[in-house]
Symmetry: C2
Subunit: 493 residues, 2 copies
């Protein structure tokens, strides 16, 4: 049944060894659906079963006394260890059948990061590092950050684990003065909008602004005003200046905030951040740098950019559990955006002086934060190798463009790993006539171990190659070529 269970490097055909590849040699390599039942699949299954069995063992410790197991617990322990050893024997040999398929009776095991190459546009850079996975195993419990919380009782002051130090490192990482962790980039926008935006105030965003920027402004009572794109779908400094003038002329007031995505969520085009900052500050308007697609994957230097605020996303680009993110700012803005509570209980005269209003006190009190912290050494290192990721992104896109009728809608050559492509002239030509419509393409991808495309989409869609290694990026490109060949879509050698 299993046609190619394990591909050893010595069996990799020549077309896999170099960049210049003729797809047409690969046609017989894959066979739909078969690999999923293979040895890899059962090994992955058994890895999860072993992890779960260990959590069952762990449960025994939690139910027992600190002094040790009683006889019954010892017997249960021995049984679970025996089960675990059987699972590990299967894991090693690649044998056995799935024994555990659900968590809590209803949740499927999510193994797509192990079973597949995942090109999902927003998931790629949020995949946890191995250390982050260890951290949430260890620190998953509710308020796990609070073991050693002492006066003044605020998350970013905790030194054990090193949360205070992490906050300092995080500020340095984006080269800003001060940083806070927040439940997602959106909560960073909200805090800034809540600080700066009053009823009816205008906030400049890009014509490619993420919806969370809209919502943050709306929630603060403001109105978004969009900067138009140029012919290449870039937000320019010039267009930003014009928009500011337009708002000023129409409303009689300057916008109170400009927030621009360095790379946007639609095309992941790079916008004129440096020029925009200059323009914005000529008007003395605060500038929020939206780094949801940059902080954690490429070097971001807030001071060099001249940003007043830098916002990043933990679960999108910092290999962290959702919801998580960072809001960094200059010292100038901290007294405002991080203002501490002034509220006094009218009766008790209680004050909670050190708690920051926009943060609502502590923010990420558990596994979310610890995952950020555990991924951080890797994240700091990986941004230094962004060029390799961009190179691979371009490698894949170049290969895709050899499939006749394919286009790239994002700026090209790519400066990012997220790309919007148009396969109307290639894969959609098949979908039009296929009984599965666009889903034929999803079927073909998934049967070759690729997931994360928008299921059924074969016209314009997005993918993200972030984090794929050399071998994986070649494989990905090969798969696209092979599917093209299978359906006789011309491929340029």
């Amino acid at each position: 049944m299993v046609r190619f269970t394990i591909v050893n490097s010595d069996t990799v055909p020549e077309w896999r060894s170099g960049y210049a590849v003729d797809c047409r040699s690969t046609t017989t390599r894959f066979d739909s659906g078969l690999w999923l039942g293979g040895i890899m699949s059962i090994r992955i299954q058994k890895t999860f079963e072993a992890l779960f069995a260990l959590e069952e063992v762990r449960g025994l410790f939690r139910e027992s006394l600190p002094t040790g197991f009683d006889a019954e617990e010892e017997a249960a322990f021995n049984q679970r260890i025996a089960d675990l050893k059987a699972i590990i024997a299967d894991l090693e040999a690649g044998t056995g059948t799935p024994k555990v398929t659900k968590i809590a009776g209803t949740l499927d095991i999510r193994s797509r990061e192990e079973q597949y190459i995942n090109i999902h546009p927003i998931q790629a850079a949020g995949r946890l590092t191995t250390e982050a996975r260890k951290a949430i195993i260890s620190y998953g419990d509710g308020y796990s950050t609070c073991d050693s919380c002492r006066k003044p009782f605020r998350l970013d002051k905790i030194s054990k684990p090193g949360i205070a130090e992490f906050h300092e490192d995080l500020a340095k990482f984006v080269n800003m003065d001060i940083a806070r962790v927040v439940p997602g980039a959106r909560r960073g926008f909200q805090a800034v909008a809540g600080t700066l935006v009053g009823k009816g105030d205008s906030v400049i965003v890009s014509a490619l602004a993420h919806y969370t920027e809209f919502l943050a402004v709306e929630n603060a009572g403001g109105v978004v005003r969009e900067v138009p794109l140029d012919a290449k779908n870039i937000v320019t400094a010039e267009a930003t200046a014009q928009k500011i003038e337009e708002v000023k002329a129409e409303s009689g007031k300057l916008p109170v905030l400009v927030m621009i995505d360095h790379f946007d969520y639609q095309f992941a085009n790079e916008h004129e951040i440096a020029g925009i900052e200059k323009v914005v500050h000529q008007y003395d308007i605060p500038f929020l740098y939206n780094g949801a697609y940059t902080v954690g994957v490429l070097p971001v230097d807030g001071k060099k950019i001249g940003a007043d605020f830098v916002v990043g996303s933990g679960h999108k680009s910092m290999a962290s559990v959702a919801p998580s993110g960072v809001l960094a700012m200059t010292d100038e803005w901290a007294p405002k955006a991080l203002r501490t509570t002034a509220m006094v209980g009218d009766l008790t005269k209680r004050k909670f002086g050190i708690k920051e209003v926009e943060m609502l006190g502590c923010t990420l009190m558990g596994g979310t934060l610890l995952s950020m912290m555990a991924s951080f050494p890797t994240v700091k290192e990986r941004v230094l190798h962004w060029d390799e990721q961009v190179k691979r992104s371009n490698y894949f896109i170049d290969r895709l463009l050899k499939i006749s009728g394919s286009r790239v809608l994002s700026e090209y050559p790519r400066k990012h790993t997220l790309t919007k492509i148009d396969t109307t002239g290639s894969f959609y030509t098949v979908a039009k006539m296929h009984k599965r419509k666009g889903f034929y393409f999803s079927d073909e991808l998934s049967s070759r171990g690729i997931v994360g495309e928008f299921a059924g989409a074969t016209r314009t869609w997005k993918l993200n190659t972030y984090g794929l290694n050399e071998k994986q990026i070649r494989y990905l490109a090969d798969v696209f070529c092979e599917i093209a060949e299978k359906y006789e879509i011309p491929v340029t050698p």
Copy 2:
């Protein structure tokens, strides 16, 4: 070195078998610090090492092709399996020495839930269930909820995994019409305050209100007005009515919201929720039920209470990863508090119609939510056994009160597992003269496997016995008695 490695049930002395115990028989049972080096400790250590080793194995799958390992990967796999098997041999035998002591180079392994009995006031009911721990292993990666996100692209509409169904179940669980998950109870308060509270508006809270209620009101521009406590530290309906009248008389306007904690965070006293609701609705003021200390541990019936909003905390009381929580409401309030965006891009005419403004769109897009979902079957069941938890809480407090000079500051008999106690007349009498001051008490507790007390505090402090089983609660009480005896604090038999 190890004086009592494993206590088997057949070696448990008689004083452990019943509730009526004379502490004085236990004095020689424990010996400071020794148990930590025992067989249990190394087993726990090896459990973490095995979990981590499996995460290393998992990392290999992530780096490989979907078609399988190449020769080098296969060799690495075999090595890691060999390492794993060695760890498991140690785990089984209780042998070996710690090999892995840090995560990501800096983070200690957090094993206090395995090594100790943890009586931390806010951590007890947020400890993950075994299923939740499995869920975050499987769903820890960033946007893990988004694999099958389809139109209309909102978290609570996702059916795979069953997030949509979970939202319905969650509403039913607190008997309200509609529910959303939020990044902590505080974000629930914020959403409601953001909806209802305008500049200068008054919001009634209790004199024991949590600081996050203060911040949510302050952030919305409102002012908190506190209901005084009665002589027993209870917020009564009558006092609430008086406070409403007082606000009305002083400001000429009714308060726009009343939010009251069913059990407060200071004493965990039960306040007159039912009566308060009646009073509040006589004035036609919306009522927010703060269930941070109830939802997830005891049955909450929002409709019976008559609440307009019910807020609960995932990481405090629902065995979930932080930050997580629930905001539930009646259908009447949904169009307001869950209003969808009305913002239109002035240039692009973009609308994000289904996104809810106060939620900022999607809220918990990953492991936080999946931990809530995985714990939910257990949580639904455990609230039905709240009486047992309260009984154990009272058992412990009764035993504590036998230690001369100890007092309970919370209402007594206890109706909750969180309790504020006063040991000024007992353990503090020793602290006054001890060279370690109050830390002697922490030392004594931790050397017997108890943690979570506020380190160094021996006057008024809080503890929470939630989740302890029969055996553990007896052990806990025994430890307190034994410490008393060691320091010759009189204990009533």
